[in-house]
Each structure stands twice: as structure tokens, then as C-alpha cells.
């Protein structure tokens, strides 16, 4: 067997197969159907970093929720290591756009939360939480409450909580969209740093092309109405990536290509709408 065929027969860490999801909205006596996802399929290799990008409302968050098991798909399936999923599991953890922290819990207690639910002994969960709080650079803030932290810090608490669950796959939904530009770049670099160290599989949703390209091995470009994959763009930039790569000609080239793909998806969706209307 050549290395190439070995790679293609390898079971992917995550396989999303023909996912469809339609939401029905009831307004007075009218029911409108929103086809959030119209058949989405892709695979992610173990340890791979994949970004998903697309216009607002194209079903990115819905896709992430379906992968996590929070929302059931109408059709299709999600497979981890070839096994079909039926709901949330400890093999996946989400970093939510809205942080998802509990205001009555300290940073330490928020990060421990998942382990507490699993009944992990106090000493162990304290230690594991502490380690990940340090990893995201929040040592010294263990006893702070979320309302005492900035947006960027809250996001890192959410990330530490996901890491503490020790999942194979980390699902991130526009995690840096609520922080300012400078903080965002630092958080991106920190995320890559942690990812290089821990070797997790990451699915990272964003609406920023720069962010998607800088972070990922592959960028999945989605289009709207219905939400679908327009194209997958490979990012063949070397690792480890540093801020120096942000201005590299190759990155700009890939970025331009991704941008054109994204535009095509938006224009097609508009045309489709006009055709219907």
C-alpha cells in the first residue's frame, strides 16, 4: 500500500454526512420554512484545524450544534471515529460565541463545571482546571467572577473549560467576534499555540476570512439559502504560524481566492432568491 492510499482509507476523526435541517417558524397563522442546511458533507482528519466561513445566517451555528448533538438533524449523520453520534458527548466540547459562563461561578468553578457534572473527584478537577487556566494565560484570576473580566478573558475561560473536558474535537462558534481587533490577534496566536501543543481536532466557525485562513489547514466556504458548502480551500502555509505569516504573499493569495468563493456563494444565493421571488 502506498502512503497515499493509506491516507485515503484512514477513518476520519469527524465525518459530517449529508446534513439537512429545516426550521419552521410560526407567525400568527403563517408557517415559514427556513432551510438552514441543505445537505452538508465534509470530513476532518484527526488533529486537523478546519475553519468554516460563510455569510451570516447560512447555518454555521446550526451545523456546529448538530455536530455537538444539541440539535438533531432532519437527515444525514455525524460520525466520530466512524461511529454515528446520537447526542452530546465527552468526545466533543463547544466554545460558545456568547461565552456560556455562569455568573455565579468563579473562573475556577466555571472551568471545573464539566468535570463536576461527570463526578470527577474534587482534587483532580481542581488540578485539571488550574492547569488549563494557566495554559490560556489566566493564572491569578481563578477566584474572579465573569463579570469582573473583559470579553477576551471570558472567551479564554470558555476555551479553558472546553480543554478541561479533554475532548478529541473542539467546536468553536465565532469565539473571537466579540473582542477587539488587537485582542483577537493575540487570542488567535494563543489558540494556535495551544492547538500545536495538544493536537486536538478543531472546527472553527468565523465570519472573518483573515481569521479563517490564518488559523486553518482547510477553509470550508459556505453559502446561504440553503446553507451549503460552496468550496473547500486548502491553506498550505507552514506551521507553526506566527503573526509574521499574516502578511505573507501566499496567505494573501489564498485569502483572495477564499473571498472570491465566498462572494460567488452570496451572489448565487441572491440570484436564487430573485428567481424564487
Amino acid at each position: 500500500m502506498t502512503p497515499e492510499t493509506a491516507a485515503t482509507t484512514e477513518v476520519p476523526k469527524l465525518r459530517v454526512e449529508n446534513i439537512r435541517k429545516t426550521f419552521f417558524r410560526v407567525e400568527r397563522d403563517r408557517v415559514t420554512a427556513v432551510e438552514a442546511l441543505g445537505g452538508v458533507s465534509f470530513t476532518v482528519r484527526s488533529g486537523e484545524f478546519v475553519s468554516v466561513i460563510g455569510p451570516s445566517g447560512c447555518g454555521k451555528s446550526t451545523l456546529l450544534r448538530i455536530i455537538d448533538g444539541l440539535v438533531a438533524a432532519d437527515e444525514g449523520g455525524v460520525f466520530v471515529d466512524g461511529k454515528k453520534l446520537t447526542g452530546p458527548g465527552h468526545d466533543r466540547a463547544v466554545v460558545f460565541q456568547y461565552f456560556g459562563l455562569y455568573p455565579w461561578r468563579t473562573v475556577q468553578k466555571n472551568v471545573e463545571f464539566g468535570l463536576e457534572l461527570q463526578g470527577v473527584p474534587v482534587a483532580e478537577r481542581r488540578e485539571r482546571a488550574r492547569r488549563n487556566i494557566a495554559l490560556v494565560g489566566l493564572s491569578g484570576f481563578e477566584n474572579h467572577y465573569p463579570h469582573e473580566l473583559s470579553g477576551g478573558m471570558k472567551q479564554r475561560v470558555g476555551f479553558a473549560r472546553a480543554l478541561t473536558m479533554d475532548p478529541d474535537i473542539i467546536l468553536m462558534d465565532e469565539p473571537f467576534s466579540a473582542v477587539d481587533e488587537q485582542t483577537r490577534e493575540l487570542l488567535q496566536e494563543q489558540l494556535l499555540d495551544v492547538w500545536e501543543k495538544m493536537g486536538k481536532t478543531v472546527v472553527f466557525i468565523t465570519h472573518s476570512i483573515d481569521e479563517a485562513v490564518f488559523l486553518a489547514d482547510r477553509v470550508i466556504v459556505m453559502g446561504a439559502r440553503p446553507g451549503r458548502i460552496v468550496e473547500t480551500v486548502a491553506v498550505d502555509l507552514p506551521r507553526p504560524r506566527t503573526s509574521a505569516h499574516r502578511a505573507s504573499p501566499r496567505l494573501l493569495e489564498i485569502r483572495t481566492h477564499a473571498w472570491e468563493t465566498l462572494r460567488r456563494g452570496i451572489i448565487e444565493a441572491k440570484a436564487g432568491l430573485e428567481g424564487v421571488g
Partner: protein, 279 residues
């Protein structure tokens, strides 16, 4: 947001400090005004007491003297103890009943459908109308008095809990579901802490109503406690003494209400900060 650089991550916002100082000043001014109003009332009471027959109103200083002698001979202490037992037992039962029913109604639509007519009906009904029934069922001693307190005081807690559960949104439930929390864990670790500020706000309203419930119970079942003293002194036209249990009831109500308010702020510091300028 846009103007901040990452170093602001750790430095506290100075506007928060200024805001807090202004808030503290306002609180002191409010207290001074309240104190002045009480002093004015006492002065008017003293003067008016001298100008009217003692049966209607005796001067404030006579009530002070009565306060002293009733305290020394133990009458007031015993009555206060009796009333406080009823008050605390009634409030405790109200919290348990109100939180449990409010949680069920807030979390399960069917429970709300079944319970809502009863809750609204009882809430709207003049609770005192149930008093004869309560005494018939529970007798004349402590149990019916506690029941009256619950009937009157349970609703703010219940309604606040119910409303609180509705505000527990997906932002709290989704992470828990993602981390595979059981239904019981969602109740104890997400919903209960999230609604605690609402329960405390309800309890604060309930305290005043509970004091009313205690007095009603003590008037109309077997007379006892501070309410019993009021009836007894009113019946013998001892107006100066009559005001002693009334004053004690006022103080109990006020102290408990502000105590619950203090606990409310201590237990939910993030609710305080929501009113501060955003960071």
C-alpha cells in the same frame, strides 16, 4: 470596545469606581431623609398626644415607658418570641412551597397549565376569607397561624420563581446540555442558582406580607403573640401599651426586609454590576 487595547484586560475601569462612589452618596442621603421623616413623626405624635384624650392617642414618651415595663416583666419578650416563631416558620414554608411550585410551573408547561388557575385564583382571592376554614381544619394554635402566613406570603416568591425560570435562557442551558448535565443537575446547578436573585427579590416582598399574616392569625385565631397584645390593650383602652407591639412589628418587618435586601446583593453580585457601565 473598539478603543480598548489588550492591556485593559486587567486594569479596572475607573468609571466603575466613580459610579460606585456616587451610588454610595445617594444611599447615605436617602438614609438621612428617612431618619428625618421618622423623627418628625415622633415629634408630631408627642405633641398630638398631649392635645388629645389618652384613649385615642397618648404621647410618645408614654409608649416608651410602656416599652420598658413590658420588656422588664417579660410580656413583650414572650409575645415577640411567639410571633417570630410563626413568622419564620411561615416564611420558611413559603420559600419551600413557592420555589418548588414556581420551578415546576416554569420548567414544565403542563404543570403550569394545571397549577396556574389555582395560583391566580388564590392570589386574587381575599385570603382572610379562608381563615374560618383554616381554623376549622387546623385548630387555633400555631398551625393555622403558619398556614395563614403561607397563604398570604407565598405568592411573591412563587410568582418571582416562575418568572425567573422563564428568564433562564439557552445561554445557560446549552453549555450544560453540551456537557451532558442530567435534568437533576440542570435544576440544581443551573436553574436554581440562576433564579436565586429572583427568589430573594420575591422573599423581600413576602416579608411585609408575612408580618401582616402573623397579625391576622393572632387577631382571629386564639389570640397570642404581638397581635394578641394589640387586641388585649385595645380592648382595655390602654393606648400607650397598644403601640408597643405595633412598633415592634414595624421594626421586625423593616429589619427583615433590609436584611433580605442585603443578602440579595451579597448572593448575586453580578446583578449589581449589570447596572454599572459596561466593561
Amino acid at each position: 470596545m473598539a478603543e480598548t487595547v489588550h492591556s485593559t484586560d486587567t486594569t479596572p475601569d475607573t468609571r466603575v469606581g466613580a459610579q460606585l462612589a456616587a451610588q454610595r452618596r445617594r444611599r447615605w442621603r436617602d438614609r438621612a431623609i428617612g431618619f428625618g421623616a421618622v423623627m418628625l413623626l415622633i415629634a408630631v405624635w408627642e405633641v398630638a398626644g398631649h392635645m388629645t384624650p389618652d384613649i385615642f392617642l397618648s404621647p410618645f414618651h408614654r409608649t416608651l415607658i410602656a416599652l420598658y415595663s413590658l420588656t422588664v416583666d417579660g410580656t413583650l419578650i414572650r409575645a415577640t418570641q411567639n410571633s417570630l416563631i410563626v413568622l419564620f416558620a411561615g416564611l420558611a414554608a413559603s420559600v419551600v412551597v413557592g420555589v418548588v411550585i414556581g420551578l415546576l410551573m416554569g420548567r414544565y408547561e403542563r404543570a403550569a397549565w394545571v397549577l396556574e388557575p389555582y395560583v391566580n385564583g388564590l392570589y386574587a382571592a381575599p385570603t382572610i376569607a379562608f381563615l374560618p376554614l383554616v381554623t376549622l381544619w387546623l385548630g387555633l394554635y400555631t398551625a393555622p397561624k403558619i398556614a395563614i402566613v403561607v397563604l398570604i406570603a407565598v405568592f411573591p416568591i412563587l410568582k418571582n420563581t416562575y418568572a425567573g425560570v422563564a428568564t433562564v435562557d439557552q445561554d445557560y442551558l446549552e453549555p450544560a446540555a453540551s456537557m451532558r448535565a442530567s435534568e437533576f443537575q440542570i435544576f440544581t446547578k443551573v436553574i436554581l442558582p440562576a433564579i436565586l436573585p429572583f427568589v430573594m427579590a420575591g422573599l423581600r416582598l413576602s416579608v411585609g406580607r408575612a408580618v401582616v399574616g402573623v397579625v391576622v392569625g393572632e387577631f382571629f385565631t386564639r389570640q397570642s403573640g404581638l397581635g394578641g397584645l394589640i387586641v388585649q390593650y385595645a380592648g382595655s383602652f390602654r393606648t400607650a401599651e397598644m403601640f408597643v407591639p405595633i412598633l415592634v412589628l414595624v421594626v421586625i418587618g423593616a429589619v427583615l426586609t433590609s436584611l433580605v435586601g442585603y443578602m440579595q446583593r451579597r448572593l448575586a453580585p453580578w446583578k449589581e454590576s449589570e447596572r454599572d457601565p459596561g466593561i
